[in-house]
C-alpha cells in the first residue's frame, strides 16, 4: 500500500484498475472525462489490462455496459449530468437485466441553464431506477466505495448494477491524500468475476431481458428486483466489514458525526457534508448541540440505520444540493422527500 495525492477522477480510475475491470464503454463529459482518459492511457500502454470502447452516446454506453456484463465480464463506466440523463431510459432498464456492473457518476447540475457547476440534481434523479446508489465525501472513500460496489453488485443475493457518486470539481478535480491498496489485497477482497449463470455461450442458449406480457409475471420480476436491491443492505454491511478488516478503513452505510448528544442534526450527502462538519465544530464551540447524519448508501434506503441515528433528535435540517422544482422559493431547510417518508413511517416515534 502506498499513499499518493489523487483527484477524485484519479481515484476512480485507480479503483477500476485495481478491480481489474475487463471492459470500459466510455463517453466523455465534463467533469468525468479524465477518468476514461486515464484508463485509456493505461490500457494502451499495457499498465492495466482492459478494453475501452467509445460509444456515440451515454444511452448507447449504458446499453453496451449492461450487454457486456450480461455476456459475462467485469464492466466499469462513468458519466455526469446531461449524460446520466441521456442514459435514463437504459438506467431504468438495465437493473432488471440482473447483470452487475459499476457506474461512477460525477455529479453536475443539469440544464437549464446549461452549466458545469456541481450539484445533485442528476444523481438524485436516478433514485428510482433500481441501481444501488453510494455517495462519497472524499477521494479515499470514492476509491474504497468502488471496490465495495463491485463486491456488492456481484453478490449472489444482489446482482444489480451500482452507481457510486462523487461531486464534480469538489472531488473530481481536487487532490487529496489517498491510500492505494495493493493489487494482491484487492484480489483477496474481490474474487474474479463470476457470471452466476447470466452469460452468452453457444452451449447454453438463453434469451435475456425478454418481453413479459401479463400483469402477474411482470409484477413478479419487478418485485424480485426490489427484493434483490433490498438484499444490498445486509450485503453492504458484510462487504464494508470485510473491507475494514483487510484495509483498515470503515465505511458504514450511514456516517454520524458528533450526533450522540445532538439536539439538531444536519442531513447531507456527498462532499458537501464535509463543510457541515466544519460548521458543526464551530457551532459546538459556541454551545449549540449539533451533529451530522450522512448516508453513504442512499439506495437501498438504510431506513433502520437512519431511524437509529435520528431517534430522539429535536430537529433535522435536510440540506439538499438539488432543487425539487417546486422548491424554488423554499427556505434554507429544504424538504428531502426520503426523510419525509421516513418520518411518516416512524409515526409517533
Amino acid at each position: 500500500m502506498k499513499r499518493v495525492l489523487l483527484t477524485g477522477n484519479g481515484a476512480a480510475a485507480w479503483a477500476a484498475r485495481l478491480a481489474e475491470v475487463d471492459y470500459v464503454p466510455a463517453f466523455p463529459i465534463t467533469p468525468q472525462t479524465e477518468i476514461i482518459e486515464t484508463l485509456a492511457g493505461w490500457f494502451a500502454r499495457g499498465e492495466a489490462r482492459g478494453r475501452l470502447t467509445t460509444l456515440e452516446s451515454e444511452h448507447s454506453m449504458v446499453t453496451a455496459a449492461a450487454a457486456a456484463a450480461a455476456t459475462g465480464v467485469r464492466v466499469f463506466t462513468a458519466t455526469s449530468s446531461q449524460g446520466l440523463l441521456y442514459a435514463m431510459e437504459m438506467l431504468f432498464a438495465v437493473p432488471g437485466w440482473r447483470a452487475p456492473f459499476v457506474l461512477v457518476n460525477v455529479s453536475r447540475a443539469v440544464a437549464t441553464p446549461i452549466t458545469l457547476e456541481p450539484d445533485h440534481t442528476d444523481i438524485l434523479a436516478t433514485r428510482d431506477t433500481g441501481f444501488v446508489q453510494i455517495h462519497c465525501a472524499t477521494c479515499q472513500e470514492l476509491l474504497d466505495s468502488i471496490l465495495i460496489a463491485y463486491r456488492l453488485a456481484e453478490d449472489k443475493r444482489v446482482r444489480v448494477p451500482v452507481i457510486v457518486n462523487q461531486d464534480g470539481f469538489y472531488l473530481s478535480f481536487t487532490r487529496e491524500p489517498v491510500d492505494l491498496p495493493d493489487a494482491e489485497a484487492v484480489r483477496r477482497f474481490l474474487p474474479p468475476f463470476d457470471p452466476h449463470g447470466t452469460e452468452f455461450r453457444a452451449s447454453k442458449p438463453i434469451s435475456q431481458a425478454v418481453a413479459v406480457l401479463g400483469g402477474a409475471p411482470y409484477s413478479y420480476f419487478r418485485y424480485e428486483l426490489h427484493r434483490s436491491v433490498m438484499q444490498a443492505l445486509p450485503a453492504y454491511e458484510e462487504s464494508a466489514r470485510e473491507f475494514a478488516v483487510l484495509f483498515g478503513r470503515r465505511h458504514p452505510a450511514v456516517e454520524t458525526y458528533r450526533c450522540e448528544d445532538a439536539e439538531i442534526v444536519y442531513f447531507m450527502i456527498g462532499s458537501f457534508a464535509t463543510k457541515a462538519k466544519d460548521a458543526i465544530d464551530r457551532q459546538r464551540d459556541s454551545g449549540l448541540k449539533v451533529g451530522l447524519v450522512r448516508p453513504r448508501l442512499l439506495r437501498p434506503y438504510p431506513a433502520d440505520a437512519l431511524r437509529h441515528a435520528l431517534a430522539g433528535k429535536r430537529a433535522v435540517a435536510v440540506i439538499d444540493q438539488k432543487d425539487e422544482g417546486s422548491a424554488f422559493h423554499a427556505p434554507a431547510w429544504c424538504r428531502h422527500r426520503d426523510v419525509r417518508r421516513l418520518r411518516w413511517a416512524r409515526g409517533a416515534a
Binding site: R51, E56, V73, A202
Partner: protein, 281 residues
Amino acid sequence: MCAGCGGLEALHEICDVLGRKTVFVNAAGCMTLLASYPFTPFRGSWLYTSMASAPAGAQGVRDALDILRAKGSITAEEDLATIVLTGDGAAYGMGLSATSAAIERNLDFLYICYDNEGYGNTGQQYSGATPHGALTPTSPGAHGYEGEKKDLFAIWVAHRPAYAATVIGAEPLDLARKIERAAKLKGPRLILALAPCPTGWDYDPRHSVTIGRLAVRSGVWPLKEYVDGKVTHTRIPRPRAPVEEYLATQGRFAHLFAPERNESLIAQIQARVDDYWKNVA
C-alpha cells in the same frame, strides 16, 4: 408474428442458413414479441435492448466475447455470431446514430433489418422507410405519405461496410446466397429485407410471396449487394412490370385507384423507379 408476416419468412430463411451459434440483439419493433416470456422461437440466444441502442448492445456483447476469447475463458466453440435484429423504425430512424457508430467502429456483426415500411408494432404509422403515397394512420390524407423512402442501403454503403445486401423472403435462393456470403465475412454487414406486411399494407396474408415477387419484378425493390467497394445487382428485372401492378395489390395504395385513378401520383412513383434503373447497367 401475424399470419403471413414477410419479415418472419425472411428471418426463417436467414436462420436456416446461419444456424444456432448466434445471439440476436433486438431493437424494439414487431419482432420484440418473438421472445415473449416464457416462449422463444430461437435455437440460439437473444437480448432485448431498447429501440435506439441495439447496435450498442451488440457492441457490448461482441467486445465481451472477444475479451473472454483473449483471456482463454471461452473457446471458439462457445463463441457466438452477434446479430442485430431490427425493424425499419429503428434502422431508418431512432437507431441510425447507434448503427452509424457501430459501422464506423468496424463492429463485427450482422445487421438484419426487416423493413415493413412503417412503425409496424404500433399500427403502421409512417417511418423513414415509408414509400411515397402510402396511406398510414399518420398519413391518412388523399395523397398518403408525402415523404420519400430513405435510402438506407446507400447510407450503409457510404460507411464502406464489409458487406451490404437487399433481400426478400419471396426470393429464397437469392437470399440464401447472400446470407452464406455475409456469414463468411467479418465486420459490419447489412441484410436489408423488404417485409411484405399483410396487417400494415392491407392485403390477404396468402399474397405475401406474390407481392414480394412483384416488388422485385416492378423494380420497386432492387436486389443488390455491396462488397469490396462495388454495388452489383443480383436481379435486373427485364422487362420491368409496371409499378401499378405492385401498388394495386395493397390497401395502403387503394386511394391511387379508387374512387378514381390518381394518374399523377402513379406516374410520380413510376418515374422514381424508372429513374433508379436508368443508372443501373
